[in-house]
Symmetry: C2
Subunit: 131 residues, 2 copies
């Protein structure tokens, strides 16, 4: 199997691919964000998760404001080389809302919502560093 | 918290949102595919994962050819309501390549590739039903 077949195919996707961060220890899916080739390369080079923020239009070094960095233990590529899976250790809360993961809400069959996680921090606590 | 804030915001994303399927029992991230509103609604209504195939341009009832259906136990929505996480029971192999998950390849720091899963079936076995 050649490296080329496995290297994420950013070009075919128009530059950005989805990247899933999963807790390396307990398997919790923490978040999904986006990577361009530069973010991917910096992630590999530094061992810290770096994404591309679509809203800010620039690299987003996860934790750069919040301190909630992700140390990357494994980088997995899917069969079509168009999705990335990172196995990480998460410092603090993965979610900007202060929950351990971004998937803290469950949709019930009757259409109602159940919270499935406890909030670790208030968002105002997370981002006060730059206030 | 209103339902509206949690219902996936397909419109803002141009119609399609990423959906992660995770094994409900062991936490393995099985695959990432895409959903439009119709796929999402059918998933909830039937309890079987239904995606939107970008290559085929139509609904893709996971397992419709392979028999490798996903029974959905939980539907989680992320903080921005733009990613869906399904906790599922996977029949057979999640991956069309015959691996338990689509993330069967690990990228090592030196740029080489390590297989991290055993293939369950050859792709020719999976799809021979319609041959």
């Amino acid at each position: 199997m050649s490296d080329k077949a496995v290297w994420p195919n950013f070009e075919a996707a128009g530059g950005l691919l989805p990247a899933i961060a999963q807790d390396a220890t307990n398997g919790t899916v923490l978040m999904l964000a986006w990577m361009n080739a530069e973010a991917f390369q910096e992630t590999i080079a530094t061992g810290r998760a770096v994404y591309f923020s679509r809203s800010r239009g620039r690299l987003w070094r996860k934790g750069e404001e919040s301190g909630h960095v992700q140390t990357v233990h494994q980088v997995l590529i899917d069969c079509d080389a168009d999705t990335i899976l990172l196995k990480v250790s998460q410092e603090g809360a993965a979610c900007h809302e202060g929950y351990p993961s971004c998937f803290f809400r469950r949709l019930l069959p009757d259409g109602s919502i159940e919270l499935v996680e406890e909030r670790l921090k208030q968002p105002t606590e997370i981002y006060k560093k730059n206030a």
